[in-house]
């Protein structure tokens, strides 16, 4: 097969082409910097917007009690309707932890201590994060979709025109429902995870019942339970604020509502993990600081 080689391809560009190449690189660099700059500015603006949104909500929270009807509906939706799914996933997570940990503990002859890792993981970390994840998926997405639809169909404008502040009427009850009930959901996830882990370890993997319970008791202290529940309150606040913000700033049309619901889950989840990291660092330091001074 013959091929034609263009000798100029192997040669360096002639002197005249240098300014054009430099200009091209300069232009693409300029575009790149512009795009990143815009993205950074947009990100900062969004964070500021969410901060103002949360501040506005908190102002309403402390100035006027929400209406009982709107609060009860949200408490039911967030708490009662989330309970089965949180309990079910909590149970499975406890069992999965038992399955995953068993091989590794068996290899070093410590399978009797399985209760330590399962229960400590559940109470400190997996229970709160799991309950928050389920809540942001089930409730956060729904909040963003409902408020987004209300925005698109002018129902939020209608509230305003009838003298009701949408922040007070729509956001405050959702915030309270999430913040007040996520500790209960977290506790339920912890409990069902512990039950699931115990059941699988003792009845399927045939770990000694007394050893399992004794090691569990040693590994989990009151502070672990407290820190898990405390973290969940922050997670509940994140889910409600981010989801309501996404709903309120929904773009028109079905696509806008869908995007708001998706964004509510994604941003809530990322923020939950980031805040979890920060809270773990702060709580661990606080724990060791406190116990280093206690008698």
């Amino acid at each position: 097969m013959s091929s034609t080689v263009n000798p100029s391809q192997d040669l360096p560009p002639d002197a005249d082409s240098h300014p054009h190449a430099a200009a091209g690189i300069h232009a693409s660099l300029h575009d790149w910097v512009m795009q990143w700059g815009e993205a950074v500015v947009e990100g900062i603006r969004t964070v500021g917007d969410i901060g103002l949104f949360a501040w506005n909500m908190l102002t309403w929270l402390f100035t006027r009690v929400p209406q009982r009807g709107t609060l009860l509906v949200n408490l039911y939706s967030v708490g009662v309707l989330s309970l089965p799914v949180v309990a079910l996933t909590g149970t499975f997570i406890g069992m999965v932890l038992a399955v995953q940990s068993h091989h590794q503990f068996q290899a070093i002859g410590m399978e009797n201590q399985l209760g330590k890792v399962i229960n400590a993981s559940l109470v400190c970390e997996l229970g709160p994060v799991l309950a928050a994840t389920m809540l942001s998926g089930r409730v956060g997405g729904a909040m963003a979709a409902v408020l987004g639809t209300m925005r698109v169909t002018e129902q939020i404008d209608a509230l305003t025109t009838m003298g009701a502040d949408p922040m007070h009427y729509l956001v405050v009850p959702r915030f309270l429902a999430c913040v007040l009930l996520i500790p209960a959901l977290t506790t339920m996830a912890d409990f069902m995870g512990i039950v699931g882990g115990y059941f699988y370890s003792v009845y399927i993997l045939e770990i000694d019942h007394a050893a399992y319970l004794e090691h569990s008791r040693q590994a989990v202290v009151g502070f672990d339970l407290f820190s898990g529940v405390l973290k969940s309150v922050f997670f509940g606040a994140i889910i409600s604020v981010v989801s309501c913000y996404q709903g309120f700033h929904c773009r028109p049309g079905a696509e806008g509502v869908g995007r708001a619901a998706t964004s509510a889950f994604v941003y809530s989840f990322v923020l939950i993990l980031a805040v979890d990291l920060v809270l773990n660092i702060v709580l661990n330091r606080g724990y060791y600081y406190y116990y280093s001074f206690s008698p």
Partner: protein
């Protein structure tokens, strides 16, 4: 055929487009003073000045995108002016604290284009919402007034327990009107009240708007494309023109006067709109 309005004009002010609050002159109920609204630095409304007197029924007409709905939402304080001001009963809406602004809004009734009924509530709760929100009425009175207003807009009592999704477009519009007038507001604003309805239901809505005006001492602002509604209900017409199609220096308010004068207006854009003629628009859009 041009229909005569069903009533005598309450107030006509041909120079209202340039009306300014001056000493000795009685103020209008609503005043737009050099109002400019821009989104992303693109002005939708620019330098709009006009006065609406108490008791007038005004139709705001114009092509899509000319800023009719923006003008109306500014009146309700849902959109804040980029510059200029809107006053209601002498109060600057953008300068009012939120609480006073919310209280002032109770003096308005608003009929949204698609009714904007709350999906999560029954029709009864939707209509009762403004009364309950005002915290001034006992539940017995709320109940009797809701049923009375549903009857006034021609809806049977059986709809009270239904959800908005179970009603037709015309029924939802009528529920929207009942909700807007239940507090007997001083101003009722209608956003495209007949859009999407069949001719018979459109005329029912026209009749209802006339009925509301005759029953209460109300000022009505109707944003519409429907020339039949304009001729039948309004006693003054404001025609806006899209900013993007104006030549430099041209005013955005093309017409301000009684409906009967629209046909004979020297500005061809007004008569073209009234007759619904596309003219060379298709070529312009394609080009």
């Amino acid at each position: 055929m041009t229909e005569a309005p069903d009533h005598e004009p309450v107030s006509q002010s041909n120079d209202s487009s340039t009306a300014q609050p001056t000493a000795g002159k009685q103020r209008g109920l609503i005043e737009f003073d050099r109002l400019t609204i821009a989104f992303n630095e693109q002005p939708v409304l620019k330098d709009i000045s006009l006065t609406i007197d108490r008791g007038e029924t005004i139709a705001v007409i114009g092509e899509s995108g000319c800023g009719k709905t923006v003008l109306m939402k500014t009146l309700l304080g849902l959109i804040h002016p980029t510059s200029g001001r809107v006053t209601f009963d002498g109060k600057d809406l953008s300068a009012l604290p939120p609480k006073q602004c919310a209280d002032l809004r109770l003096r308005f009734g608003f009929v949204f284009q698609n009714a904007a009924l709350f999906d999560s509530m029954t029709i009864f709760d939707n209509v009762a919402f403004p009364m309950r929100q005002s915290h001034r009425y006992a539940e017995d009175e709320v109940s009797s007034r809701v049923m009375e207003h549903l009857h006034q807009v021609g809806l049977p009592a059986s709809v009270a327990s239904k959800r908005p999704g179970e009603l037709s477009g015309g029924m939802r519009k009528r529920v929207g009107i009942a909700r807007a007038i239940i507090l007997e507001p001083e101003v009722v604003v209608y956003d495209e009240p007949t859009t999407g309805l069949d001719p018979i239901m459109s005329d029912v809505i026209n009749e209802l708007m006339i009925g509301v005006r005759n029953r209460y001492p109300v000022t009505s602002v109707i944003v519409t494309h429907d020339m039949r509604t304009t001729r039948r209900v309004a006693n003054r017409v404001l025609m806006l023109y899209p900013r993007t199609r104006l030549k430099k220096g041209e005013p955005q308010l093309l017409f301000d006067g009684p409906p009967a004068d629209m046909e004979t207006d020297p500005d061809s854009r007004v008569s073209q709109f009234v007759r619904g003629e596309a003219g060379t628009r298709l070529q312009e859009l394609a080009g």
